[in-house]
Subunit: 177 residues, 2 copies
């Protein structure tokens, strides 16, 4: 277990209680990083304003042929160049596979819990169906239709649906509603 | 349960899975707030660099007569004006009581968990004993000596000791070391 602190005194006190602690000396400021971390940042900011248990989520499309791009930049890319941008980027690629990932951050006075949902997808050759975000070009692995063409599938089995099901199970177990 | 998002689509999808969700529309940036939130921010930043389970902590002295001051500014106040600053601030106050609070943020790939320790204290009239931080002026409620004079007490029963004991119990339960 690592204790991050620039304060040797605090570390020594802590080590009395937890002898296997290791110190990592670092001044702490702010990052730009994975969707998990972005979700956690957003959760904390929201909680600082709202002061009640809440969740936030972050979702990204991670393409195999593009080294995981656009990933945490998916929203930004979508706003600028839309589904067409993805189709253009894959124009000369054989591998059109990737994964959609949703991370939910639940925050309350005990901290933050993350819930994830993933969906393996193939990018279609053109936009099919009207839908939100990348849905018109996302074909779930083993399926024939895009998420935009098959919303029933989407609402039950997509990356976001899975993440929220995981959260729901947690809330029910803990009797939090 | 509140879902913080500026995106109506995502909210509608989420609500299919968790019907009792409520939407809170907000653009998310960064706060300056309680020691819990500071601890969570620091934890996330550290985790983004280190990528291994870790903890950070934040501690504050919250004085009854000063509306909780210096609280989350305790480190900053201590660095500038030390124990003497607190003694000066309380010079004409009858109520010299307050609470020391430590919050530990534990972060791993599941999120963040907070562990707290509190100690009710009375501020002594002058510095007694050599010690770290405010220890020379902190007399635990019902005790006679300052934490600086009585380190044995401090290491077992102080705000920080309590917080780390809570963390330890968690780590042992979960078999995390």
């Amino acid at each position: 277990m690592i204790f991050v602190t620039s304060n040797q005194h605090k570390f020594e006190e802590a080590k009395i209680i937890i002898p296997w602690l290791e110190r990592y000396n670092m001044d702490l400021i702010e990052p730009q990083d994975s969707i998990e971390l972005i979700a956690m940042y957003k959760a904390i900011y929201a909680y600082s304003k709202i002061k009640k248990p809440l969740i936030v989520e972050d979702t990204g499309l991670f393409l195999d042929a593009l080294n995981g791009f656009p990933g945490e930049y998916s929203v930004w890319l979508y706003k600028k160049i839309g589904c067409k941008g993805i189709l253009d980027l894959l124009k000369d690629k054989d591998n059109r596979n990737g994964v959609m990932r949703t991370v939910i951050a639940y925050i309350d006075d005990k901290g933050i819990r993350l819930f994830e949902g993933k969906l393996r997808v193939t990018i279609s050759n053109y936009e099919r169906g009207k839908g939100f975000g990348f849905d018109p070009i996302l074909i779930p692995e083993g399926e024939q239709f895009t998420l935009a063409e098959n919303p029933e599938f989407k609402f039950q089995y997509s990356h976001r649906a899975i993440a929220f099901k995981n959260l729901r199970r947690f809330l029910e177990d803990e009797n939090r509603q």
